[in-house]
Amino acid sequence: MIKYRFGYAKYGEAKYVSHLDLIRLFSRSFKRAHIPLTYSEGFNPHPKLAIGLPLSVGVTSECECMDVEVDRELKKEDIDALNRSLPIGIHINGLCEKIPGTKKLSDIRFAEYRVTVVCDPVDPEKFSEFMSRPSVVVEKKTKRKTEECDILPDIHALSVCGITDDGLMLTMTLSAGPSANLKPDLVLTAMEKYIEGFNPKDYDIHRAKILSDAGLPLL
């Protein structure tokens, strides 16, 4: 049994594939590519496959990662075979065998997103003002209830990185991982609430980086 970390991108229509569906998709793709996954023991064996950070439905990414246990050593041809076995929109773009102890999936702390917003022009200065607020309170829905909470501590960086014909592009670094997780949609909702004249008509979210505690990429 050898543990590998795979890096992959999710784009195009495949962004609508949910987290749970993606796990099933990968285990079938490994089968099609003849890569023998290690299965758990027991009554209902399942492949040992862990996705680093769930990606919301509708979000694209170039930096996803998962840890997979395999029964034999992998070669480059295996990755080619796997890529041929994946549907359009999911592509393996990295592989590493020896995963440093400081880069466990549980060490994931931050994610960087690029958000393309369709909206009327807004003064970029307003976004700096937004970040200088003492607090950013929004309604956050959990499974059981909706509560007011301050999301500012989980916004680590936010800036306008480009102006487009029909709106603008933002980058934001947010808390991610097992201890705290903030979704970019909620940041947009907050900005809509606090930034006057900012009314997104549509937006596309793309995850650009997943970072560890030490601010290092996972792959």
């Binding site: 229509e13 569906d21 998709l25 079938r28 089968k31 099609r32 209902n44 509708g58 549907p87 549509d202």
Partner: protein, 610 residues
Amino acid sequence: MELSKILKEVQKPARYIGTEYNSVHKDLADVYIRFAFCFPDVYEVGMSHLGIKILYHLLNNEPDIYCERVFAPWTDMEEKMRAHNIPLFSLETRTCVSDFDVVGFTLQYEMSYSNIINMLDLSGIPALASDRGEDMPFVYAGGPCAYNPEPLSDVMDFFMIGESEEQIIEVMNAYRTWKKSGEPKIKFLESLLSIRGIYVPRFYDVSYNEDGTICEMVPNHPHAPTRVKKQIIRDMDACFYPETMIVPYMEIIHDRITLELFRGCIRGCRFCQAGMIYRPVRKRSPKRLLELAEKLIESTGYEEISMSSLSTSDYPELQELTEGLLDLTVQKKINLSLPSLRIDNFSLDLMQKVQKVRKSGLTFAPEAGSQRLRDVINKGVNEDDLIRSVSLAFAGGYSGVKLYFMIGLPTETDEDVKQIAHLAHKVVQAYRDTPKEKRNKGLRVTVSASSFVPKPFTPFQWAPQDDIETLRDKQHLIKDEIRDKAISYNYHEAKLSVLEGVFARGDRRLARVLLRAQKLGVRFDAWQECFQYDLWMEAFRQEGIDPNFYNHRERSYDEILPWDIIDPGVTKEFLMRENEKAKRGEVTNNCRKLCSGCGIKQFEEGDFCD
């Protein structure tokens, strides 16, 4: 852009994306015929259907044909599509359905008919064939419900009756020729008249008697056959079967490889339409099935494979096949999922070997509570068989049993109905009679009662259907008779069966009701949470059509039935004979024991029955 925006706002957007593994993507420049395969229900239901898997790959094997899939959008998606003026589109290329050459619907259950009208409406295609101009696609239907095509005959340009694997290629050839000719649409429909199994409703005129029954149904075209003979596949091993299947992103109802063992059924249950219309029995060989299984496992990566047929226990080489499949699935580390089998030592042993089956539930379908009524419906099961089977199962460690029954069967009395509860009690007793050290704890007996709907081409096609009140009384009668906490009881909404009955045995005049009901807002009638009985009744009222005319009348043998236009191979004489035997409570042997002379042997040259 609009579509990508609404996909973010709907539930389960994976229903609408169409880039699944093994989906077919062609260069449109190489395509001459564009075919939209429409399933009138939501994605996860439609994708579970075997017919679509077969025909999708069969058609796409033709280089100049591109078959794409279309499903009914769920209500949230439909709302957004209508709000943004997005027409119904195919999954593969997102082409509007009205831009296709041929639009085919599969008719799997009557309760999907309103979705057909709604899908045409969403596509901007007029629902009535007579309203569609030269610029509109041909719209046709096939599948089991097409054996009574009449309720949809004003909607469809034509129907394909019977098994399509060879027929659809003939139709496509005719289409190619017609398209090259540049002639008006009617010429294509005329050219179809020489193909077996094609019914073109506009080439027939129907007149009615004063009492509303059919007076005459006659061809108005010199080449239209007086009866349309169904098409069948003669050699199942040689017949096309896909070696690959689309692997959906989302979980669908039957999320596994399906191996079709055989068509037809030797049993001859008198309520069962499938058992009549799919005759004769024709099987694939174990060798062919194992070869297909291996290829499908390779090409899909699925973790489960299942066997499909009307009665898998009747597959003659079941042992050889299951042994082969077990070897294969162990080697490939996937699961073999078993259909419900007749319980005996062989099947229990098999279930033991297939570890995936949890020892919780086994399903039995006695269909009727009393022996008298089981003889009436020719369900060749007696109480001793059932008790022996459940006792074997209990001793083998199973503690859950599901029992399926129907209520509203012909000749049924209150006593027959009460016997359903009594039979369930006897099953409980069989559990208590099983030694404690052998049986598992936690007995659960589930009794499920569905409402019988008489279907065309069955011996009960002339029978009256119970009305809602009678069905409800019977449902409660069972409830009152059940006196054991280990038994749980459920039944279906009786109102659903009214509509199923009307469209199962209806005629041409019903198209008006369908169109009206769609305008009033009915959708997804097979889904309890969507079914709107009152809207349907309003549609009947507005169109001046009485649903009781179709359901509650006993039809006489000399009445002309709307589906008489179709020749399914079994003769009317056979069905009458069976109906008379039913009234006398006489059983008919299964086909392997003794040929019952249903007519199928004369229907097709050569002896076909396996």
